[in-house]
């Protein structure tokens, strides 16, 4: 198991972190009153936390190595992870899907409106996560300004509704199209370049959209935002507030199912195969005669379409939009959903979204630490489990003898 040397290293690491966090965590200053508070207890927390984390990560790595050794020498067979098995064999995933659907349908009758509202938010993130999953997970393009397309959709509905009185159902496709249009406009110049540039340009683009919405008051009413946006209508029937929230809930469920259907079909299509291939090896992919630019642009535009539609739904749900809802952190949350769930895996993204959005809602006491944890998740997942909680299973053919 762990040797003495591991513990000595653990102590060294602990000391290093105590030194590292000393000024920021221990000293708390008040520059106006010129006073200092020394928070020595934080030092203790850091020391204990680092040591425990170090030992745990050592144990994990040791076990992983041992396992790999065993597989190599043939003692243990390389077994498929249970999570992957659960979603690749029909006898497992069909009952899960049916149970999930039934629960989702009964949800509004079982729980209060407040819970339904939270669930709508979580489901919206499922849609956003699945959309980003096309871009990041399937096609391997890191898009850090995803929220910009979300903002485009939300503002499209808000503005069209305010100025022209257009309804939800008219604007939903328009929002999607606008998202795609912006995606193509941005993607066209950037997708020719290496992947890292895409990350930073999309990051910049997200900020530009937000800054324009904030500063161009005549167009977007600035930071105060647009309120009184119409809720989606149901054949002109007047709905009470509770009814319309339930209606919104079912709409979101429909949207989720539609998204899952489309994404699933896309992954098995010609273009989906091209995305996977592009993610794995660009050069080999081009050699096989795949138009790199066109394929990337489709992925980017399709991802943006979903963000645009989710934006329209967001505006319809909250009946209020302002630029503060579309900061970089929002993009980071969506990225975190995709990474935690498993890049390229549809059930993974759904689980990821539900965990990351619902948990902070119910653990209000820790809500301050939310973004800290999200950042840590991104790093830890990349190091320890890059395939996410539920990894994708590549479709393989098995020959029967």
């Amino acid at each position: 198991m762990l040797s003495f040397k591991d513990f000595r290293n653990g102590l060294m690491v602990t000391l290093w972190f105590v030194f590292l966090t000393f000024p920021l965590l221990v000293i708390k200053i008040n520059p106006i009153e010129k006073s200092v508070v020394w928070r020595w207890h934080n030092m203790l927390y850091v020391a204990c936390g680092t040591f425990v984390f170090y030992v745990l990560s050592r144990l994990y790595l040791a076990r992983k190595k041992e396992q790999q050794q065993k597989i190599k020498t043939g003692i243990v067979e390389d077994k498929v992870a249970w999570s992957a098995k659960l979603f690749s064999e029909p006898k497992f995933y069909i009952p899960i899907a049916v149970a999930g659907c039934l629960f989702a349908l009964a949800f509004p009758t079982l729980f209060s409106t407040y819970q339904v509202n939270i669930m709508i938010t979580a489901l919206m993130y499922v849609v956003l996560g699945l959309g980003l999953n096309i871009v990041v997970g399937v096609a391997g393009l890191l898009d850090l300004g995803y929220v910009a397309f979300y903002a485009v959709g939300a503002y499209a509905y808000a503005l069209l509704n305010m100025h022209f009185g257009l309804g939800f159902w008219t604007v939903l496709p328009i929002g999607g199209l606008l998202g795609a249009l912006f995606g193509i406009l941005l993607g066209f110049p950037v997708l020719r370049l290496r992947g890292d540039y895409l990350a930073i340009v999309t990051l910049g683009f997200g900020e530009i959209i937000r800054l324009i919405l904030e500063n161009w008051g005549e167009f977007s009413q600035g930071p105060s935002g647009i309120s009184n946006i119409a809720r989606p209508g149901l054949f002109g029937i007047d709905l009470s507030l509770e009814m319309s929230i339930n209606f919104m809930y079912y709409l979101t469920i429909l949207m989720v199912i539609f998204t899952i259907f489309v994404v699933n079909r896309l992954q098995d299509s010609r273009i989906g195969r091209a995305w996977f291939a592009l993610r794995e090896d660009e050069i080999a992919c081009q050699a096989m005669g795949i138009d790199k630019m066109k394929t990337k642009l489709t992925a980017f535009a399709l991802g943006a379409t979903w963000a645009g539609m989710a934006g329209v739904m967001f505006a319809a749900k909250t009946t209020f939009v302002n630029p503060a809802s579309f900061t970089f952190l929002e993009s980071a949350i969506i990225l975190c959903i995709v990474v935690l769930g498993g890049m390229g895996s549809i059930p993974g993204v759904i689980v990821g979204a539900l965990v990351l959005i619902l948990l902070p809602e119910y653990l209000r006491a820790f809500s301050d630490y939310r973004m800290l944890v999200f950042g840590a998740i991104l790093v830890i997942m990349m190091i320890f489990r890059p395939q996410g909680i539920i990894s994708t299973v590549r479709r393989t053919y098995s020959l029967k003898d």
Partner: protein, 300 residues
């Protein structure tokens, strides 16, 4: 004319701060081909450490000169330690992973550090003491260029000259250049590549900390979010000059600084950040290799 000169100097000041940050980006990119998204956060941590140390020292009654020297030292030491730790924790385990992994890890690190400072300190803007004194000999020109502008220009010039010297003439610098050219070949001729990468991160972080200290003292307030925008802008500067190229980063930074100063001075200050981002997109469309960078062909 005075207004023009004032804007010109303000552009130069901005430019030299961007240069101090952009150098870190470009050095790291040159060596391991990674955009270190957390670099902006290092700059912010440098500024925060400076704020904390200088306040504590002032309260305990140290003389001004000692405060300046110790603050600068502390900012550099801690920022460099953070840079080193980030590389060890978040990037080194991913060195042979697919390209996307270290990028996501870097984003995660950046978000983590921002929120770490937010939780450990405060989310409000903190006033930063003016560490750079007003020089008497600058009095006649004070309406055009302030003492702190001058100090920033001089300090960054010295730092950049030292860096050039280190990279051109020392053994470490030679090892860095060799690693940047071809990591495997460098390993074969006996360079400890891991150490070189660590030194690159440490140097880059130290430069960013100096930048953070100078700008915080110049502007007079900081918060946990300053690293984000400064990071993107410095990255823009590095790309403008040609990422991976050290003189390119400096040139790009000055161009960006001047563009921003004139654009905000003559057009509108609401869209200050939009200018930088638009410039970034434009360069990437028309000259993706940057001004001084070499266009590289990916080899199989």
């Amino acid at each position: 004319m005075d207004y023009f000169i004032e804007l010109f100097f303000s552009g130069l000041t901005r430019g030299s701060i961007y240069a101090l940050i952009a150098l870190g980006y470009t050095m790291v990119y040159g060596i391991i081909g990674l955009i270190n998204f957390a670099h902006g956060e290092i700059y912010m941590i440098g500024a925060f450490t400076a704020l904390i140390v200088s306040t504590v020292l002032t309260i305990y009654g140290f003389p001004l000169l000692a405060v300046i020297v110790l603050t600068a030292l502390a900012a550099v030491i801690w920022a460099a330690s953070y840079g080193y730790t980030i590389e060890r924790l978040a990037y080194r385990p991913l060195r042979s992973a697919p390209r996307l992994s270290p990028l996501i890890s870097a984003i995660g690190m950046s978000i983590f550090l921002q929120n770490y400072v937010l939780l450990a300190q405060t989310s409000d803007f903190q006033p930063f003491p003016a560490l750079i004194p007003e020089f008497d000999f600058m009095e006649p020109y004070a309406h055009i260029v302030g003492s702190s502008d001058l100090a920033i220009l001089v300090v960054s010039a010295i730092v950049m000259i030292l860096l050039t010297f280190m990279i051109k003439f020392t053994r470490t610098g030679k090892a860095m250049r060799a690693t940047a050219q071809d990591r495997k070949m460098a390993m074969l001729v006996g360079i400890n590549v891991d150490n070189v990468i660590s030194i690159t991160f440490i140097t880059g972080s130290a430069l960013a900390a100096i930048g953070g200290l100078l700008i915080a003292s110049h502007i007079g307030q900081i918060n946990f979010y300053i690293g984000f925008i400064a990071g993107i802008k410095a990255f823009t500067a590095a790309v403008l000059g040609g990422i991976g190229s050290i003189p390119g980063a400096v040139l790009g930074s000055f161009i960006l600084g001047l563009t921003e100063a004139f654009a905000t001075g003559y057009v509108s200050s609401d869209y200050e950040d939009v200018f930088a981002f638009s410039l970034l997109v434009l360069i990437l469309i028309f000259k993706p290799a940057g001004l001084l960078g070499k266009a590289t062909v990916e080899k199989v």
